[in-house]
Symmetry: C2
Subunit: 365 residues, 2 copies
């Protein structure tokens, strides 16, 4: 076992000051290094300014790295024999996570050695360890998780789809700020529009928390382009760029949409493989159906928002192409002014909340 | 204007004691009598034991009725010149709704002249007027709305997708009772399984209300086959027969799924109409795609649950086939022991809640 603080560096040692460095939990995800390392090689082809720190078992990583010429001199393997399993509970992961590939990947961000960390490992553990190592910027208990949902002309940024189950109005306003900053950084939209998820568009609809958050955002003291309440079907209609909700509703809505999409695929496949003429038809339409499926696939990774540092969670089943995309996403976000913008707007928040508290009775238009 | 109490009967007068009578808001929906009357004729072909009360403008209804031989002697037109528009607010509808076709349709249920009322009109107005005329059975503020979501082997009953935005544990337990009774009556499932919607399946997940409802349902004092927490994607997976949640989450999840399905249809159509080979393929696969779309279409109507009486809301855009199906649904539910079963279980509820309140600290397994 290697002492976690030292990181167990061997082989190539990178000059961490000259390039953008991304720190990778190379053991995470369903497939581990066999997917992560080829994905790194693929991603670096398009990211000439990026180098990588790879955290994990050197005996498994080194041979994989050696197989890809493009990685020579651009990655540093930092050995650790310890990993966090996909089944580990967050509390366990916090107690026993020190020195694992996930822990070390995040610690490199805190120590300023990398601009972002990427893991396809256990989500609960990643959130817990990130919060422990990097701490939160605002008053949030836990990082917010953002999802990108396809609509006909792009992607809707949807948050929180994670673990912030009970959200007061201030938390929803924080999500609006973070979601807008993320959308701008990730998709290059100058002034993203923001909507608050509700059960109707009238001002008096919904529970107290969303109506209060609506009042605060309407007042215009927070620097987001707020457009009022939106409903569930606006997420895939692209009505606004960013849809904000609490972590309970967001998680349920996201999984409901994923379930509906999965069910429709399965039924469609079944419908298109019954009868010879139908099957012939489906074969002829195949390339269009594949493009269709491609368009339906959201980005494979998402940042944990609200941390002092950039951590991206890539989905656990990621293949080579997905994980390569995740690295490109990390590079894009790391280069943007994203984190600084969130911090700037977060600092304005307490003042905005105070004024509104006094003014809330007259129901801002 | 006709006095609403008298109902303004003309023409055929039915013997209301010999048959199952359904009371219809014949002016409701986007298309009104031009869809409703042909739908009645269509439905009655398959419902020899059912007669109808038609509430609305006699000058418009009578000629339509005369056009269908099958309606002779089986419908009674009750004239009123007043209607509730699709735009009317619930509060307005309650104040000014007396004597409208919707109001009179529901009043016939309270007066015991009909076993069920069906309307394709304004949902908010229908809920408000139904509550005012029929009153609620339990402690619910408003009727719960149930949706039927397709999965590969049938339909999931999902509630509340309506207006009960703030739900404590007792309300969620009421939904479980009503949902199970509805599922049994509507789909003939002897012992429907019930799940509580949450953000994970572990006992400690979610907010206080779902955890408390979980404890009550686990204790087994309420007569439902409870299977624990389920997640958003379980709705379309058919994991349980009935999925229970509060009206805020339910409304958002339902609209999110509808939006996702609508978006996928649009994209699929676009994908299948680009390029000659693809279009040929799509034509060959057409009948399968139509069957697929049919399977994806949930029942057109749903009961408002928790009222002292049966009221079904049919979707506003219903065509002839949809509204005919809605009448068949109403007949099926009216003949079942549905309402009585809900009442029986509701009477057990206060006792079950009391015991659980005392025992809740030890966290029932």
């Amino acid at each position: 076992m290697v002492a976690p603080e030292s990181g167990g560096r061997r082989g190539t040692r990178l000059d961490l000051t000259q390039t953008l460095v991304i720190s990778i939990d190379a053991m995470g995800g369903d497939h581990g290094p066999t997917v992560v390392i080829p994905a790194c090689a693929k991603a670096l082809e398009g990211l000439p300014h990026v180098n990588l720190l790879l955290h994990g078992d050197e005996a498994r990583l080194a041979p994989e790295v050696a197989r890809h010429n493009g990685l020579a001199g651009r990655v540093e393997v930092r050995h650790t024999g310890r990993v966090i399993s996909m089944e580990e509970k967050p509390a366990q992961a916090m107690r026993r996570g020190k020195g694992t590939s996930m822990w070390n990947a995040i610690e490199a961000v805190r120590e300023g050695q990398a601009s972002a960390a990427v893991s396809a490992g256990n989500t609960g553990a990643l959130m817990a360890i990130s919060r422990l190592i990097l701490r939160m910027t605002g008053d949030l208990d836990r990082p917010a998780l953002v999802a990108s949902i396809p609509h006909s002309k792009g992607l809707t940024t949807f948050l929180d789809v994670g673990a912030n189950v009970d959200c007061d109005a201030a938390r929803l306003v924080e999500f609006a700020v973070m979601g807008a900053a993320y959308h701008r950084a990730a998709f290059g939209v100058d002034k993203p529009t923001v909507g608050l998820l509700n059960v109707g568009s009238e001002e008096m609809k919904g529970h107290e928390e969303v109506r209060e958050a609506n009042r605060i955002l309407r007042e215009g003291k927070i620097d987001v382009d707020y457009r009022g309440f939106v409903e569930g079907d606006d997420i895939t209609a692209g009505t606004v760029d960013v849809v904000v909700t609490d972590g309970f509703t967001g998680n349920v809505a996201l999984k409901s949409m994923e379930g509906a999409a999965r069910f429709m695929y399965a039924e469609l496949r079944a419908a298109l493989t019954t009868g010879a003429l139908t099957t012939l038809g489906a074969m002829l339409a195949r390339s269009s159906l594949l493009r269709f499926r491609d368009k339906m696939s959201p980005p494979p990774a998402a940042p944990l928002l609200g941390l002092n540092g950039l951590v991206l969670k890539c989905h656990g089943g990621a293949d080579e192409r997905d994980f390569a995309k995740a690295l490109t996403q990390a590079a894009t976000l790391a280069q943007s002014g994203f984190a600084a913008e969130i911090e700037r707007n977060m600092r304005r928040l307490p003042a905005a909340l105070e004024t509104t508290g006094a003014a809330s009775a007259d129901g801002a238009a």
